[in-house]
């Protein structure tokens, strides 16, 4: 589904990704682990098309299509979804309006009719319950005054509404207490299906206890230095990043 070959990317002239190679097939769940500053978030942003980052070399295809030529919104409509590490607020724009605009943009792209307000409301209420958000939140501004946990649940809600082909979760576990982590993980697990891939980016392995990955990759210095199965994450937890000769400046957390 997703094929990344020798991907290099930089921000403000500084190279962050230095040759990433990764193949993800439909139905698979991949986890990318690594210390802070290794390039995990950059990879997520580059795949989603944030133009603050410049791709200097390499190629990325989604189902054979050159992803790097597409605008952010075109990638989104082709099925790339990014759950943000720090979701921003959009004051005055209700979650309901935001979700409906997004869902209808996707439907329009697929040549489907827009959902009417009543239909949409029903669906949105169901999905909000799935991620344990009070349906009243639909009327509030996007992430406006939300707690950290609510913001993360809102991201997962958006993924459930938009049903992407590839969901990229950027540090979705950060800042969550154990109950919220459970809710978010259940949401992500509900996304798992044979025709959808999930790419999780995380510093810690605790998320992987809830969402069990098929593959684990360790990213350091802008490259994937080790790949393996579920056991690699457990080994990392036990031995720390130092085990692979990587300095983790965030080890205190």
């Amino acid at each position: 589904m997703l094929s990344i070959k020798n991907l290099h990317a930089s921000v403000e002239g500084k190279e962050i990704l230095k040759g990433i190679n990764l193949e993800i097939k439909a139905g698979e769940v991949h986890a990318i682990m690594g210390p802070n500053g290794s390039g995990k978030s950059t990879l997520s942003q580059v795949l989603a098309g944030n133009d603050a980052f410049e791709v200097t070399e390499g190629e990325v295809t989604l189902n054979g299509e050159n992803l790097l030529e597409l605008e952010t919104e075109e990638r989104a409509r082709d099925g790339i979804f990014l759950a943000f590490q720090y979701p921003v607020e959009i004051p005055g724009v209700s979650n309901l309006q935001f979700l409906r605009t997004a869902v209808n943009a996707m439907r329009k792209h697929k040549g489907e009719a827009e959902m009417n307000a009543a239909e949409f409301m029903k669906l949105a209420k169901e999905v909000s319950k799935q991620v344990d958000l009070d349906p009243a939140f639909l009327k509030r501004g996007v992430n406006e005054g939300f707690s950290g946990g609510e913001k993360k649940r809102n991201e997962i809600m958006q993924a459930l509404m938009l049903q992407p082909k590839l969901a990229i979760l950027d540090e979705t576990d950060s800042g969550l207490d154990i109950d919220a982590l459970k809710v978010v993980s259940d949401g992500v697990n509900a996304l798992r299906s044979d025709d959808r891939a999930i790419l999780m980016v995380t510093h810690y392995q605790r998320l992987l206890n809830h969402i069990v990955p098929d593959y684990v990759h360790v990213l350091a210095g802008g490259r994937i230095i080790k790949s393996g199965g579920r056991e690699l994450a457990l080994e990392l937890e036990e031995k720390g990043y130092g085990w692979l000769g990587i300095k983790d400046d965030d080890a205190s957390n």
Binding site: D51, E73, V93, A105
Partner: protein, 482 residues
């Protein structure tokens, strides 16, 4: 980010949708202004002697006044002798009695503006007194209004049919010598709207006037007078748009509102006059004096405005809160782009006891535009227990525009309470990225974010106007950020 800037430029490079000229034969004066011109204008309108005298008095006053230059705007000086002071569609002897009789060109113009009168009447139940150039050509829904005793007509008709009311109130809220543009308007006002709501009557429908400037070089001098008698209520909607022109067109309207005891007037404006091209050429000068007097106790006047057009806007819809417990409100969205300049805000003059006022102003600047809020909150010695709340928010799109806030507060009463809040923000790259990552077009995203920013004001607009205002922002911002 370079890309962001480019996208901003792309977005703002949008042609004025309503730029076209309707070909209707006009009966137009030669440019120039003197007492003879005013006498001819008055004669064409078959005005009584007192009206002509009133105009001449204002004209003489105007000759002694100077054009104000304190606002945060700059424009080449207007040559008042190069303006024509009267323009009317022909066949005025034979005014249309129904829409079927209206010039099809005019109807087409409304179509292009998305204001089909037929549909509006049927769907929205709105009475439309459409002012085309200077003479009203279509007035609808007079009957149900007449049943309620509501008078809704052109100011020219009112001068003939309700001279006592006009004499009693005209110029009482905005005196002839109030300011340069008000004096000019008093001398040469061409037409406008007159509304009278009798005691205890709740106007059965929202009253709406759409008008546009059409004939080239014709200054438009609208005069509006709305009187709400004791215990009455009226909601009045005003919407404007103009065709594309190279010459600057002057618009100097005067609006006067009078609310007696327990009366309420809600005045909403959506203004979309031609703002000039992307180099700032052409565009309307909008120098308007709008003021409401809450002369009765417990009366209330609300101004809601959505301003997206004009090259230069100079406008401060105000409330004089004379009656005890009277309330003044001002809700405003002002959007500027390209080289547009707006200096707009309000004045809340608290004279009576326990008077209250609320000001919510949302300024949006894009391109190289300049957007200023200027507001005066004043408490007279008798304004015991009066209070004001002011909130001014500015939103910047791109990095070449400017936003300014000039609040003035004068208090001669120690018990008065003033609260002022102001914020400035930008449509952030992160917000844009979030929207686009969810599949939303950048243009739609900007429009959605800006609409969210304006929500507090839009909710004050009547339903159909709120929809229109949202659309207008969308059109005005087409393409605005990345």
């Amino acid at each position: 980010m370079a890309t962001t800037d480019n996208e901003v430029k792309e977005l703002i490079k949008r042609e004025y949708e309503h730029g076209f000229v309707t070909e209707i034969e006009s009966d137009t004066f030669e440019p120039g202004l003197n007492e003879d011109v005013i006498a001819r204008l008055s004669a064409i309108k078959k005005e009584p002697e007192w009206m002509l005298e009133w105009r001449l008095k204002a004209y003489r006053r105007w000759l002694e006044m100077e054009e104000p230059d304190w606002a945060h705007v700059g424009y080449p000086k207007v040559d008042y002798n190069s303006i024509s002071y009267y323009s009317a569609p022909k066949r005025k002897e034979d005014m249309p009695q129904s829409l079927d009789e209206v010039d099809p060109e005019l109807l087409k113009t409304y179509e292009k503006l998305g204001i089909p009168l037929h549909e509006r009447e049927k769907l929205a139940g709105v009475a439309v007194d459409a002012v085309f150039d200077s003479v009203s050509v279509a007035t609808t829904f007079k009957e149900p209004l007449a049943k309620a005793g509501v008078v809704f007509c052109s100011i020219s008709e009112a001068v003939h049919d309700y001279p006592e009311l006009v004499k009693k109130y005209l110029g009482t809220v905005v005196p002839q010598g109030d300011n340069f543009f008000a004096a000019l308007n008093s001398a040469v006002f061409s037409d406008g709207t007159f509304v009278y709501i009798p005691k205890g009557v709740r106007c059965p429908m929202e009253l709406s006037t759409y008008f546009r400037i059409n004939a080239a070089n014709t200054g438009q001098f609208e005069r509006t007078l709305i009187i709400a008698e004791e215990g009455s209520y009226v909601s009045y909607l005003e919407g404007c748009t103009a065709p594309m022109r190279d010459e600057n067109q002057l618009h100097a309207a005067v609006v006067e509102l009078v609310a007696l005891d327990d009366a309420q007037i809600k005045y909403s404006t959506v203004q979309n006059w031609y703002p000039g091209d992307e180099e700032g050429k052409g565009g309307i000068y909008n120098f308007v004096t709008k003021r409401g007097a809450c002369i009765g106790k417990n009366s209330k006047i609300s101004w809601t405005q959505v301003e997206t057009g004009s090259a230069v806007t100079w406008k401060y819809p105000s409330c004089v809160l004379r009656g005890e417990n009277s309330v003044g409100e001002f809700y405003s969205v002002a959007l500027t782009h390209n080289f547009q300049q707006a200096d707009t805000g309000t004045k809340m003059i608290h004279l009576g006891k326990n008077t209250r006022s609320t000001i919510i102003s949302k300024g949006i600047s894009a391109g190289k535009s300049s957007n200023a809020y200027r507001g005066l909150v004043k408490f007279g010695p008798g304004a015991e227990g009066a209070r004001n709340f002011t909130q001014c928010d500015s939103l910047l799109i791109g990095d070449r525009c400017g936003a300014h806030t000039f609040p003035y507060i004068e208090s001669k009463n120690k018990s008065a309470i003033v609260e002022h809040e102001a914020t400035t923000s930008k449509v952030s790259d992160e917000q844009m990225f979030l929207c686009r990552q969810r599949g939303i077009d950048p243009e739609q995203a900007v429009s959605m974010i800006v609409n969210g920013f304006c929500k507090e004001v839009f909710k004050e607009l009547p339903m159909e106007f709120a929809v229109e205002a949202g659309k207008l922002l969308e059109v005005s911002l087409e393409g605005s950020v990345g």
